[in-house]
């Protein structure tokens, strides 16, 4: 560290001084002009966004943008925000695309967002009505139909069962008119213009929602169309009453009241209408995820394997990488560059392809490996073997990174240290154990911890290699022996189609995983004193 604590007071003074001279906040000069132009552009964009946001009625976004713009202007035109000037661009993106989505995920964790609750309430009401407002009256005929227009009003022209041409519109029941019918389709209607397909395209919802009464007697029913070419006598079997927030089945008279705790319309017997909406469910998801045996049991197993997987991944890749780095770390070695380049290949090869590739090579009977070895090793199908295979594949993918960083670290170990040890009569092994390794560990520990955190959530490998399989035979949820927490959550959340979607549960579980990984990493960072430079 170049910054020592005893110098801190002096530094503080210097800083204060520096701030006075340093900032270009208002000093006219080329730098300031550039800044002004940049800020002008930012402001222009910001104001444009604010106007559009209010224009489309997105209040939150508009207000958020105003606050953001004020903050950005303050940061870049104030003298007291030197550090923030450097942090701001990254922070803006971080806040919007990471912090916000994490908070939002946290919110989802307390809702029942998932199967049967993917819509909001108005969406659910619309869907229920949509599903039930166009039931064709049983045994009723279908009518060849065209959509017609007069003075901007839409109407239907149909051929009724007697072959008569009739036209009608909203509030205007069908009545016979003159016109031309060719081959059972209407080509002309007196007093009305027939809409072309592309014209219909512009007025779709109007046409879709229109119901024309068959006669003055409303009891006789009404005609609607879904395609603009055929009319049916539709009835609606469900009606929504805004005031009482209830759905009524018009056939049976059954009344379903909205229950904002379960997110369903329910009648007195507790029967529900099929489509529900998202509601807040408090801690239910956490309770389900961690106290329900179906999840809690595999969770523990998966957690243990997850930790082991991350640990062994780091350990094996590190050991191999270090071994190779040490062996290759001799300047007299000819072809060193060639060896190194080839050893980087696995790292350069796109990881999503690696997983597919190995999955193919590890097929028990037909894979490349078993064909070469001439044995039937159940690489991916035996629970224990599958775990070993996952580690082996990860070793292949991960060792070049370790090779690189160890090579770098070795080069930065002062040569005098090892020389001195050798002169003192230490053997190669002793030098390595007592000098090289401790030096390496000092510089590499933070990277190893990051690598642990990365592997802890190494979804691509686990999922693409073997989908987390083989499946645990004793678990009642879709979990496999090589699943790690994140892939287990992915499955349980229904994102693979093996379970019904349950984003609420998935969000709750990811929060908990976050707590685990976060605190483990925080703890180990502190323990390893990697953060000492912070003070």
């Amino acid at each position: 560290m170049t910054i020592q604590s005893d110098a801190s007071k002096e530094r503080a003074d210097r800083r204060k001084d520096r701030r006075k001279r340093d900032s270009q906040a208002t000093a006219w000069g080329p730098g300031f002009i550039i800044k002004l132009i940049l800020m002008g552009a930012v402001n222009a964009l910001g104001i444009y966004i604010i106007f559009t946001a209010f224009g489309v009625g997105s209040l939150t976004l508009g207000i958020g943008m105003i606050l953001l713009l004020i903050a950005v202007n303050w940061i870049y035109f104030s003298r007291r925000t030197l550090a923030l000037k450097y942090l701001a661009p990254g922070l803006v993106f971080l806040l919007i695309f990471q912090a916000f989505t994490i908070v939002y995920t946290g919110y989802i964790a307390f809702t029942n967002y998932g199967h049967q609750h993917t819509l909001d309430k108005s969406g659910a009401i619309n869907s229920l009505l949509l599903q039930n407002n166009s039931k064709r009256v049983e045994g009723s005929p279908q009518y060849p139909l065209v959509v017609v227009e007069r003075d901007g009003n839409i109407g239907f022209a149909i051929i009724d069962q007697e072959g008569a041409l009739k036209v009608g519109a909203d509030e205007e029941p069908f009545a016979e008119v003159d016109g031309t019918i060719t081959d059972n389709s209407i080509t002309e209607v007196d007093g009305w213009d027939i809409l072309s397909s592309s014209e219909m395209g512009q007025r779709q919802s109007e046409i879709f929602d229109l119901r024309v009464l068959l006669s003055d007697d409303a009891e006789e029913g009404a005609i609607g169309t879904q395609s603009g070419t055929v009319g049916y006598q539709f009835v609606s079997t469900l009606s929504y009453d805004d005031a009482s927030d209830t759905m009524t089945n018009t056939e049976t008279g059954e009344v379903y009241a909205a229950n904002d705790e379960t997110g369903f319309f329910e009648n007195e017997d507790g029967d529900r209408l099929g489509v529900g909406w998202r509601v807040n469910v408090g801690f239910d998801n956490f309770r389900e995820g961690f106290s329900d045996d179906r999840y809690a049991q595999p969770f523990l197993k998966v957690l243990i394997w997850n930790v082991l997987f991350a640990l062994f991944s780091v350990l094996t890749t590190f050991l191999l990488g270090m071994f190779l780095a040490i062996v290759m770390n001799d300047e007299r070695l000819k072809g060193r560059r060639f060896y190194r380049t080839i050893m980087l290949l696995p790292y350069a090869f796109p990881s999503f392809m690696t997983a597919f590739l190995f999955a193919g090579m590890m097929n028990r009977n037909y894979g490349f490996f078993n064909e070469i070895i001439g044995a039937a090793i159940p690489w991916l199908t035996d629970p224990t073997m599958a775990k070993v295979s996952v580690l082996l594949v990860n070793l292949w993918m991960g060792f070049p990174y370790m090779f690189l960083i160890v090579t770098g670290a070795l080069q930065s170990i002062p040569g005098e240290l090892t020389q001195a040890a050798k002169i003192d009569g230490a053997s190669t092994l002793q030098v390595w154990r007592n000098v090289t390794l401790p030096q390496l560990m000092i510089s590499l520990t933070p990277l190893l911890i990051s690598s642990f955190a990365f592997n802890f959530n190494n979804f691509n490998l686990i999922y693409m290699l073997n989908q987390g399989g083989p499946r645990m035979s004793d678990a009642s949820v879709p979990v496999g022996h090589t699943d790690i927490l994140i892939s287990m959550v992915y499955k349980i959340a229904g994102l693979t189609g093996e379970a019904l979607p349950n984003y609420g549960l998935a969000a709750a579980m990811s929060l908990v995983i976050f707590l685990i990984v976060g605190s483990v990493s925080l703890y180990s960072f502190r323990k390893s004193n990697s953060l000492e430079g912070l003070n």
């Binding site: 450097y86 942090l87 990471q98 062996v327 980087l344």
Partner: protein, 283 residues
């Protein structure tokens, strides 16, 4: 040098080197042989007899697919992500390294913790967010490459500040002080003195973020919905994800797709080694 000594000092290193090279290369040789095998189509099993038949047919067939479009998208997204990440990450690392401001330690800690959140599982939230944003700013909506880049940039600070922070600390602050005495402003110091010295770590961060954008599957699949906008990870998954497989294209495509990263590696090699460890070691 006598043979025995030669072997102890250097020879065994060659043996290890050759074994390591074989180990590193054999799966890639396998896929290369598959890529050159015109008989590979819906199954890969035929590739077990390696180099039994050689032709470039699979490579030429790629032009009938959207492969080149996807590769282009991947490169655009990867490069944009890398540049943005490097600029934002370096600026923030500089701030953390050179300025002592209120809440500094806490911010640094929160950055580290935030990056531990499995971003994979925020994709529902990301989808909903982009949906809302897209109504106002179409460029940041669903199915926009810019939106995907912006999402990757959101991870710029969390993942890289730490890596860069240590490296920045290893640049003696006396350099800044000296420049200041000569009347340089903080922007001048940052751009003309500090940045040239930290190029190795910039190269590393750029490469790492390029690779992670290159390999990302879930987010790009969520955000890029139309085929013209897909990245390689999304597009090539289509070839082998379903029942009807196209191993021929996949094998040829993965060989080509591996090239940009490999070239970057070779090109940046001298920076990478020092960049990855320099800061940590000297810090």
């Amino acid at each position: 040098m006598p043979a025995g000594k030669w072997f102890r000092e250097l020879g065994f290193r060659h043996i290890v080197g050759v074994i390591a090279v074989l180990y590193s290369a054999f799966p890639i040789i396998y896929i290369l042989s598959a890529a050159l095998n015109p008989n590979i189509k819906t199954t890969l099993t035929g590739a077990n007899s390696m180099f039994s038949d050689v032709s470039v047919e699979n490579f030429t067939e790629l032009s009938d697919t959207m492969f080149w479009t996807w590769l282009g998208n991947t490169l655009i997204i990867g490069v944009a992500t890398a540049i943005g990440t490097v600029l934002m990450g370096a600026a923030s690392a500089y701030a953390f390294s050179r300025y002592r401001f209120q809440g500094r330690k806490m911010t640094l800690m929160s950055l580290m913790v935030i990056q531990m959140f499995p971003q994979l599982l925020t994709f529902v939230a990301i989808f909903l967010l982009l949906n809302t944003l897209g109504d106002v700013i179409p460029a940041l909506g669903i199915d926009s490459k810019i939106a995907l880049i912006a999402v990757y940039w959101g991870g710029a600070l969390g993942a890289n500040t730490f890596l860069m922070y240590g490296f920045f600390n290893s640049i003696p602050i006396e350099l800044d002080e000296a420049a200041k005495i000569d009347g340089a402003s903080h922007t001048q110091i940052y751009w003309t003195i500090i940045m040239p010295l930290v190029i190795p770590i910039l190269a590393v961060v750029g490469l790492l973020s390029f690779i992670s954008a290159f390999n990302d599957f879930i987010l790009s699949r969520t955000i890029l919905t139309s085929q013209e906008n897909w990245t390689l990870a999304v597009g090539m998954n289509l070839w082998v994800g379903g029942n009807e497989k196209n191993w021929d294209w996949f094998a040829a495509g993965s060989i080509i797709a591996a090239l940009p990263i490999l070239l970057l590696f070779l090109f940046l090699q001298k920076y990478i080694v020092s960049g990855l460890t320099g800061g940590a070691v000297k810090g």
